[in-house]
């Protein structure tokens, strides 16, 4: 269950437009340690496409995209 994973860092980018949420995620990634889990909350539909593309290209791991009430959560793991 996704709820069993507890992120080490949560970035609340709700209300921020593209590319805000993705840039916030990259900032959190730079500050995180390998193995850390980062969650980004976003209300911008574009992030659903942009964030996984970035996670994939940068060789990190997408844990999942979860619909929440009024927003969605993108969870990633820093693997490098």
């Amino acid at each position: 269950m996704e709820n069993e994973i507890k992120p080490n860092k949560v970035v609340d980018a709700r209300g921020s437009f593209c590319p805000g949420p993705l840039m916030e995620m990259i900032k959190a990634y730079k500050e995180a340690k390998v193995g850390d889990v980062i969650s980004v909350y976003s209300t911008d539909s574009g992030t659903k496409k942009d964030a996984p593309a970035w996670i994939n290209k940068s060789g990190n791991e997408l844990i999942g995209i979860f619909d929440r009430t009024g927003y969605y959560e993108i969870m990633m793991k820093k693997v490098k």
Binding site: G20, M23, K49, S58
Partner: protein, 378 residues
């Protein structure tokens, strides 16, 4: 009783705000003081023309003090600390300035030090001296591989790097060395521009002109010796000439004063532009953390709201308008052609059609800026 309005910054935001306020408020009702540390006011949009010898740099600058209307107290001093609780600002000169209203328009600063290897290897067109240096480098360029891109987001005027690239393509053709040159464009997102529909036409143009696009490229370091620029995402591109927009942050004294985190950009209300719970402290232009383009046009629309609001308050009225996220952008799309994009928080930009008229608008923008916009007339 007369109010004290203190404006920090003598760029687009500070100058437009001061001039608009002076038009709207009688002198006996408010003192307007501007602190600034740029004796010369440079019109940055000309950075896409100067490197190609299309504009003489001297036409893009004016003495800052000539741009303030009568009745504005313009002081050459640098703000070093803001104390919002006690309504005070300290200047580098040792002077202390108190205020009833504080307007922060100190823009952003470039932080090439955030990228190892930047200083030894990269050129850019984001300030006066760098644009001239790049012009000279291009003059000596005989062919090879040019890599262009913003190192990260945010950066000023999001279209500027692709506008520069369109102009570069034409410049190299005019010089007869386009066939000896590869142009590579890097971008931090998974497309060529922040906004998807504008991206489509940029990418189409890149394809037509043989410009190679590298997406999801956030610059991490540069290896000056082997002439390679490396991304956070693990890609490396080699270059002969590197045109890289340096990372941007807000001013250090903003962070030191506790008004922002390490990024230096101030969180303000997106509609009212006030900082935190203070209804007398505002920021506009590049200094804010708002999800809008860092553009002179943004500062212009914000000042429209903010100057009116403050003038209404001082005269005992209420102003019901707010800033709607308006940004307008005239962007060069090819030789002698441009389009104008207009958007707000709610309305995405429409990229309609190229026109020569828009190019003329862009070409003459330094004149309209210095003679109208920055003086608070428009």
């Amino acid at each position: 009783m007369s109010s004290k309005i203190l404006i920090l910054g003598d760029g687009a935001s500070g100058t437009i705000m001061a001039n608009k306020l002076r038009f709207l408020i009688p002198r006996e009702d408010a003192d307007i003081t501007v602190l600034g540390n740029s004796p010369m006011h440079y019109f940055k949009p000309d950075g896409i023309h100067i490197p190609f010898g299309l504009k003489m740099p001297r036409d893009s600058v004016k003495p800052a003090k000539m741009l303030f209307n009568y009745g504005i107290n313009y002081v050459q001093d640098e703000a070093v600390k803001i104390d919002v609780n006690n309504r005070k600002v300290n200047g580098k000169s040792g002077k202390e300035y108190d205020y009833d209203y504080l307007i922060i328009g100190t823009g952003d600063r470039y932080t090439p030090e955030d990228i190892p290897g930047y200083a030894e290897s990269a050129l850019h067109f984001y300030d006066y001296n760098s644009s001239i240096k790049l012009r000279d480098a291009l003059n000596n360029f005989k062919g090879g591989k040019i890599v262009i891109g913003p190192s990260s987001i945010p950066y000023q005027c999001p279209p500027a790097p692709y506008e520069f690239t369109f102009q570069l393509d034409q410049y190299l053709r005019n010089r007869g060395i386009r066939d000896k040159t590869e142009i590579h464009y890097t971008y931090p997102l998974n497309r060529a521009f922040t906004i998807a529909n504008v991206s489509e036409f940029v990418e189409k143009y890149f394809e037509e002109k043989g410009i190679i696009l590298h997406t999801l490229f956030n610059v991490e370091s540069i290896d000056a010796k082997s002439k390679k620029v490396n991304s956070l995402e693990g890609e490396s591109v080699d270059y002969d000439l590197l045109v890289l927009i340096p990372p941007h942050r807000g001013q250090q004294f903003i962070t030191d004063s506790g008004l922002a985190g390490p990024s230096g950009f101030i969180d303000v209300d997106r509609y009212k532009l006030n900082y935190g719970n203070f209804d007398n402290v505002f920021a506009l232009g590049d200094a804010t953390n708002l999800p809008v383009s860092k553009a002179g046009a943004t500062a212009h629309f914000q000042s429209e709201y903010l100057a009116n609001r403050i003038a209404h308050e001082i005269s005992g009225d209420v102003y019901f308008e707010s800033y709607d996220g308006a940004v307008a952008c005239t962007t060069v799309t090819g030789p002698g052609e441009a389009i104008t994009l207009y958007f707000t928080y709610e309305r995405p930009p429409r990229a309609n059609f190229n026109s020569k008229m828009d190019y003329l608008l862009k070409w003459t923008s330094a004149d309209t800026y210095f003679s109208g916009m920055v003086r608070g007339i428009m």
